[in-house]
């Protein structure tokens, strides 16, 4: 088995801040992005792709890495630089092969399939049929009509913030209030999505 290498001080700091959550998490996300943003220039030079495409690949790399760190899938066997570069390289190659046709739909289907894994096969089968029929563009459009507070709430929820963290970020009295408010926001959205 490969022996884990010890992470450098800055790597460890960034990971600890990310896992800590709240305001620190946001800071460490930005720190992570900035730290290796020179990959963008290198990627442009190496792959000959436009800056916008390489920027998108790099942003996706950081988002993927954040997800992996938060879900404890990053085990620290390599430095963050090596780990990120591997993801970045694959994303650039995907770009070149034009396999990433629609980033949004990829992200959404990943989230949905992750959620469905919890369910029994019978329940999963029913939901998969409904998911295929659903009008996600309409849902996305309806979500833009929600008030700021609800949109912010759902944004943080979508970013895997806990109710406690959302309470701190949006100045709610308690995590329970956040939960109740979030469900209310979703009901509001559902009425807009199913007007009849």
């Amino acid at each position: 088995m490969e022996r884990p290498v010890s992470l450098g001080g800055t790597d460890r700091e960034i990971i600890e801040q990310l896992v800590k959550g709240g305001v620190e998490r946001r800071k460490s996300e930005e720190r992570l992005f900035t730290r290796f943003s020179y990959f963008i220039r290198e990627g442009m030079r190496q792959h000959g792709l436009p800056e916008e495409d390489i920027f998108s690949a790099y942003s996706d790399t950081i988002l993927t890495a954040i997800d992996q760190i938060l879900s404890s899938n990053f085990e620290g066997r390599s430095s963050l630089k090596t780990y990120l570069y591997q993801i970045f390289h694959h994303k650039c190659v995907d770009l070149i092969r034009k396999k990433t046709s629609n980033k949004n739909s990829v992200n959404r289907s990943e989230t949905l399939s992750d959620s469905l894994q919890r369910l029994s096969d019978a329940a999963k089968s029913v939901l998969q049929q409904l998911i295929e029929k659903a009008d996600w563009n309409l849902l996305r459009e309806r979500m833009t009509r929600l008030d700021d507070k609800c949109r912010q709430m759902l944004l943080l929820w979508g970013d895997n913030y806990s109710d406690r963290e959302i309470a701190a970020a949006l100045s709610y009295k308690s995590p329970d209030v956040v939960k109740t408010s979030r469900v209310r926001c979703m009901e509001k959205l559902r009425r807009m999505y199913y007007p009849t």
């Binding site: 950081i62 959404r108 469905l116 029994s120 029913v126 409904l130 944004l155 943080l156």
Partner: protein, 240 residues
């Protein structure tokens, strides 16, 4: 408690195994409930998508700020790189176009004037002609041996001295060449005796302070006495 609340509890992993089983059965049995679960999952997926998009925008702002703050440095780097290229070009052009050194002038003159030596087809048995053929065939060592063999029996042979000196000069054996040219100088009977010029050219090629001083004097003599090689003497003395 609304259905959304129950659904939220399930996906947050807050249900007991029994509650989980009931929840999954309800999806299979109750289409309206299944629709609400689908809505919940869709909302989560779109929220996640929005969160990622929001982060991308934040990253874009950060990146643009970084680019702006770096741009003066990058501009300076570009200017320096351009200046280095221009300087390289200037130096390259200078080296290409700059006036040749005295040694280069002398070498060029020797190659132009004595690169090929005149061969007379009248007497093939003449050892001088034999040496010249070898010289023109670039067999310099062999040509020198021929001229030296003539000098071995006739040490004052003007042509043998001249050609032995020229071959030695081409072989960059400057001391030997000077010896032959000095002996050649004593032949006053020849109207066109380039011995002084050839000595000067050899000294220029040999280089060094002492050689150059001697060469300068010899070249001045060429001009003063109106000897053969005035043009090259004038060129060499022009920027001494």
């Amino acid at each position: 408690m609304s259905d959304l609340d129950d659904i939220d509890r399930y996906f947050r992993g807050e249900n007991s195994p029994e509650e989980k089983r009931q929840f999954e059965d309800k999806i299979a049995d109750n289409p309206e409930f299944a629709e609400q679960v689908t809505f919940y999952l869709g909302t989560l997926a779109v929220s996640r998508e929005n969160a990622r998009e929001s982060k991308r925008e934040r990253f874009r702002t950060l990146y643009d700020q970084g680019q702006r703050s770096l741009s003066p440095l990058r501009r300076l780097t570009n200017y320096l790189a351009a200046a280095a290229v221009v300087a390289g070009l200037v130096i390259g052009v200078y080296w290409l176009l700059r006036a040749p050194s005295r040694s280069q002038l002398a070498d060029r003159y020797v190659r132009e004037q004595y690169g090929r030596l005149p061969v007379s087809m009248g007497n093939p048995a003449d050892p001088i002609q034999d040496g010249l053929i070898l010289y023109n065939d670039n067999q310099l060592d062999e040509a020198l041996r021929r001229f030296e063999s003539i000098l071995a029996s006739d040490s004052s042979n003007f042509l043998a001295l001249k050609y032995a000196g020229i071959v030695s000069l081409r072989l960059e054996n400057y001391d030997k060449a000077l010896g032959y040219f000095e002996k050649m100088e004593s032949h006053r009977e020849y109207y066109a005796n380039p011995a002084i010029l050839l000595q000067a050219l050899t000294l220029v090629r040999r280089g060094g302070r002492e050689s150059e001083d001697k060469a300068k004097k010899l070249l001045q003599t060429v001009l003063q006495k109106d000897l053969e090689g005035k043009d090259i003497a004038t060129k060499l003395l022009r920027n001494w």
